[in-house]
Symmetry: C2
Subunit: 222 residues, 2 copies
């Protein structure tokens, strides 16, 4: 059986779960705690980061980029990067946009402050970070609306790795209850399409004892 | 003519230059200043980051990952990612290792503090950061030595994107004069092989007025 080492609060690991779901691949999920030193896990990935995929052959693929590109190469259907080189470049640009810019502007000041920090035993969220995140998210939801104005998904009629990366991040902010969906109907419509996909279902059951998701988190008709 | 928007102190832009060089592709370099807001450049890449590649057709590819993967897809010779899916996954894991872990541990506390901070008009380097970087670099040079103990390069007999990414970062730290080469002969041997490649030559002429490179920076026999 294929194994994925993951943590539900890490966007890269959520992305890998979405990719496995889109490809229809069975996987056994093994939760790890990336911020606690674990020699056995470091032997799989010296960077100590999730996700790590272990194939039934024992082959190890470490890190979100490597795991997702690998799965798309080995299980080509459905293609998640696009079919020509420029389309693939645009998907990869957007994957980096959500993985770097959205992460810095929104995921870290909101989801990391409110969820990860608490799970790690940190103190109360930094109110300045929360304020910054709640301001920044509007620009990002407008950008999603702009990208989807002539397409159902971010780069075309079908979801790509860019949509899944955006969904991996936004779903955490949504768990924290900090997505102003009603102000951004076009972004909401895009997220509803994504959230209805079977690959999303397992993420919607994620929870941590004592850290309940916002009411709309698992609601497909929010 | 192909155009690359870049800044010599940004490792991702250095990586793109190395990839163009390995592929033997002509390019016109356009320096930009990523920390100064520039609407024309933001229209090419909303993230405001270098590198950005503009093809002779006018097609735009933005961001280091997108540019390098695109160039490797469109100009397959020599292949810089490897020939089978698991080999490519290992190259991509190492690209992320140098782009994230090495960057955080070494490039930021040393090269960014001493070079980028000065070019941006910042104050004196933070001595705690410098101390941390000078401690951290030993582990990274040992890791390079370990990876190359049965290969000339990081993953095999030929350089891949992983070697070029490592070289893009290390060359900046070397410019700052902070690589303890004499303590790490195996890593030094690997870097000498890389530095002798024609793709490296243009990087070795990089300089900023008033910010001279360390004496060994451009020396192939250091």
């Amino acid at each position: 059986m294929r194994i994925l080492y993951h943590h539900w609060l890490y966007p890269g690991a959520r992305l890998a779960r979405l990719v496995l779901g889109e490809k229809g691949l069975d996987v056994s999920l093994r939760p790890v705690t990336p911020w606690v030193r674990d020699e056995a896990f470091l032997a799989l990935n010296p960077a100590g980061e999730v996700p790590v995929l272990v194939e039934p052959t024992g082959a190890v693929v470490a890190g979100a980029t490597a795991v997702c590109e690998y799965l798309d190469e080995v299980h080509a259907d459905p293609p998640l990067l696009g079919t020509d080189a420029l389309a693939r470049a645009e998907v990869r640009r957007l994957v980096c946009w959500f993985g770097e810019v959205f992460r810095r502007d929104v995921t870290e000041p909101l989801a990391c402050e409110k969820l990860l920090n608490r799970v790690m035993g940190g103190g109360a969220p930094d109110s300045r970070a929360l304020r910054a995140g709640r301001t920044n998210i509007h620009m990002h939801l407008e950008y999603i609306a702009w990208l989807t104005q002539s397409n159902r998904f971010l780069t075309g009629p079908r979801p790509t790795l860019a949509d899944l990366m955006a969904g991996a991040h936004l779903s955490l902010v949504d768990y924290a209850g900090d997505v102003p969906w009603d102000d951004h109907p076009a972004a909401k419509e895009w997220y509803m399409l994504l959230k209805c996909r079977p690959c999303f279902r397992p993420l919607l059951t994620d929870h941590e004892p004592g850290l309940r998701p916002a009411p709309q988190y698992a609601d497909l008709d929010f």
